[in-house]
Amino acid sequence: MSRTSLRSLKPSFVLRFIRADLLSSWQRFAFVIVAFALGVAILVAVSGFSAGVRSSIETEAKSLLAADISVSSSQNLQVQAFAGVSANARFSQEITFASMLGVPGNSRAARLVQVRGIEGDYPFYGTPKIDPQASLEAVRSQQIRESVGEPPGALVDAILAQQFALKLGDLINLGSTQFRVLGIIQSFPGESYARTVIAPKVFVPLRSLSETGLLQRGSRVTYKRYYAFESDQDLKSSLKALETNQPNFHFEIGTVASRKENIERVLNNVSRYLILVSLVALILGALGVASAMYTYIRSRLAIVAAMRCIGATSGQVLLLYLGQGAILAVIGTVSGAIIGITVQYLLPLVLGEFIPLPVEFEVSFDSMIEGVLAGLLTSAFFCVVPLLSVVSISPLHAIREGASGQLSTKTSRHFSLKVGVVGVLLLCAITTALARSIPHGLAFSGGLLVLVVILWVVSFGTSRLIKSLRPRGGSFGLRYGMASLHRPQNQTTTLVLTLGLATFLLAVIYLSRTILLTQLTVAGSGIRPNLVLFDVQEDQRDEVRALTTTNGLTIAQEVPIVTMRLVSINGVDNLALRADSEIPQWTLRREYRSSYRDSLIESENVISGELIPKFSGNIQSDAVPVSVEEGIAKNLKLKINDGVVFDVQGLQIRTVIKSIRRVDWRRIQTNFFFLFPQGVLESAPQFYAIMTHSPSISATVNLQQGLLEKFGNVSAIDLNLILETADQIFAKIATAIKFLAAITALSGLLVLSGAIATTRSTRVREFLLLRTVGATRSQLVAATIVEFMLLALCSCIVGLGAGIAAAWGLSAFYFAIPFSPPLIPLLSIATGVTLLVLIIGTSSTIGLLRTNAVEVLRGEG
């Protein structure tokens, strides 16, 4: 392309030409630009929402913990544990544990709750929403038992109040004590939705806990202190002091930074997923733009040829059309960004519950720029590819009438390959940048490319197959409709690609939900345990066992649990290990709950070394052979024969890693990071988890009531409740994903409308000719229906097929559960997509039948 010739074009001429050309053909681009803008909108909205959450985390970080530091331990800590903490610090105490809650007068009301006895000014940061607000102070300051016989006050989560129809002033049972509901918690700083759904909070005065009888020795009670400091200096010095005391007193330290890190990790995963899904919508729109641009260039063949004849160079012509592409891309991207900001305002309404912070709406310029750049790059690529064919339009087209219907491209395979490579690299770059992760970006790009290739192969194959079949029988409508799929200028590939991608997304979203729920159902079906009893003390075992069997439940497994802390690895003590930035801090700070047995259970298998079933050596002199779970081994950099010392409630036990296990944590079973052999921990203080199978809801309720009356410390976790919770959580997340899928499907339909709009003049001419030579309206309608029916079927079959394959892959390789696709919902998706395609396709084409032939001929002239 000659630079001189490009320079010779004056910008004013270029702009005038582009304006005139675009104004004359804006209708053909309207649909695809809307589709593309929707893609950009979703990208900007999701990215902006994530940025808003990040911004809230930054500005409201302290409300994530509701304090500057939290200290938690399974033991009531001595004062010395807090030596060195600033005397100016404000602090609150809390004792928390899981327990069953009952409602007097309602024999069927029993639910696992998280009991939190509090004292002091906690929460120090963030604003809890409690109805009435004053009740928090009443419980915290314990000003409730003014008169003898008046039960202590409690604050209950709204979800609990709703379930048991609790009102202010109602009574609840915790252990052997009754509490009066003084307030209902709507939200509490730093509390997540999922945790609240599984075990709702009940705040009670700290001192009242002793009366419940639930603080028994060995119970899984957590003692907490929350600190708030006057200055950063106080915070730093106090944190340092606590870290020094930590190895001697065994407690966990929670900081705002560590809480932030956890939330950001989850947020990154969710936003990455949503952003990548929204990228599909963007690419669909871009495909539509490319298709419209290709058809547009084809319609401009004579103009371009005439311009070449009168002296326009190929570079000049390319510039004039690239300019049009650029303007369309800018219009689509900028309007998409504006719509995106509006959608971003709505997202907190859907996803807000999952974020333990109030998310304020704010315009994130970074996200806008990110979305706009992704939009511009994607559209630039998808526009440039069809526009490049302008260069190859020969001026001979101006004088050769017969050639005007064909776009002769001189693009070689080598050139096409280059364009393909650039496209793939661009896709990888955009996905990687948006996902902020090379593996995720590449995996997504790879998956998308595979799907696109499959869709392309199917559309191409279908087109070829129909062409080779050339049915001679059947009606005119059937033959003509089928022929539409392979005739020159057909839209088969574009439509199958876009509609197939949209169908695939809808199917995968639906099937993922089904798989997740099936997985939980499988775990709880048949004779597998569906009710887990936690915190059963040694002296309660026999009675709990008896109560369980009396109520008709069968006991599947009794698992002893011993709590312990990590002291050192290969001679390097815990404090020194914390200096290693590659070891996650939580793995060193946490309290490990371990078990002992002589064999593996079905949710685990040894992947390295050998499981030692029994230890017969001397615990004082010999290292105990233990088994470690694969993930924690990786985190702690543990290998076979590494030495690990544990502090088992005051007694140090030297162990050696003899096997590494792979554990399927998704199974509802008691799994452990460290597994000891028999003959070591039997005499250590321990409690039990009893896995039971309940044949009916009434048996479960009866057992829960029995436990509530006699063993308030024992928590009964109902698998059905987890199933319901998972379904509720998934339903809410699915709302957001369904929204994205709907937008994607809408994009596909807009692209369909766009494709029909871009081929309108060709269809008009064809219909006119056919009517002139005697085709009836019904024949033309039949031909249209056959064409769009075949397109829709092709897209649905491939989209659903790929969706089922992806879901099967998830089931087989990730969840390891049998998968049978639910036929009726999938058929509903197929029917829905087919009907929409038929309605849009036929209604817009049938409109052409009303066109006045004379009017068209005049317009064509």
């Binding site: 010739s5 004359s24 040829a305 009168i310 000049q316």
Partner: protein, 229 residues
């Protein structure tokens, strides 16, 4: 001499249709002729005789399989595609049977197009275009789009466009082929009077024998060869 065509052959390889793939179709055989500055020449012959192919070769729209085309003494084969485009922009004008106006540009904008492509200042381009449109009798139709003009008017716009940059030669491919008799006559008059006024050479493809008779030089093509009239 403005245009010299020497021993030109042109063949195409057929790769579609009912014939065998790879068949060579010989379109032009050993064509030689020359056009003088300011002269007029008609190319006549039945459909498929190679007239349009020959016009394309003369205008540098296509290249001969063998032989040479010299334009003002320069071989078109020595120029690349963009150089040939610039040559057309500066030295050649085109009139097509189907007018080939840009439907989105007004009459005056269509006429200005060759000047705009050559970066002639806007006011100068407007003035030149306006003068020519006055000359072809369309002074009241400057702002009309092609669709708002009749066939004859469209062809007059095309004629103005072909002359606006003062070319040394005009190639006209069946310029009256799509017009009624009255309009065809008007266009013919205009074409020849402008040819005479501006001293521009004219190469005309036509089936119209009356039109051909008005040119100074006649070339009859049959089966890709020049045959005696």
């Amino acid at each position: 001499m403005i245009l010299e065509v020497s021993n030109v052959h042109k063949s195409f390889t057929s790769n579609s249709g009912g014939g065998n793939s790879g068949d060579v179709v010989q379109v032009l055989h050993d064509i030689s002729f020359a056009i003088e500055r300011g002269s007029s020449c008609s190319l006549v012959g039945p459909s498929g005789s190679g007239k349009t192919t020959l016009l394309g070769l003369c205008a540098g729209l296509d290249s001969p399989t063998s032989g040479g085309v010299l334009f003002e003494g320069r071989s078109l084969a020595d120029l690349n595609e963009d150089q040939r485009a610039i040559l057309r922009r500066e030295k050649m004008g085109f009139v097509f049977q189907n007018f080939q106006l840009i439907p989105t540009l007004t009459a005056i904008e269509n006429v200005m197009l060759p000047l705009e492509l050559a970066a002639v200042p806007y006011l100068d381009a407007t003035k030149s275009a306006q003068q020519l449109l006055d000359r072809v009798g369309l002074e009241s139709r400057l702002s009309h789009l092609p669709a708002q003009l009749s066939g004859g008017e469209q062809q007059r716009v095309a004629l103005a466009r072909a002359l606006v940059h003062r070319p040394v030669i005009i190639f006209a491919d069946e310029p009256t082929g799509n017009l009624d008799a009255d309009n065809a006559m008007k266009i013919t008059e205009l074409l020849f009077s402008l040819n005479a006024e501006s001293g521009t050479a004219l190469v005309l493809i036509t089936h119209n024998t009356e039109l051909a008779a008005r040119t100074q030089q006649h070339l009859a093509l049959k089966g890709g060869r020049i045959v005696p009239n």
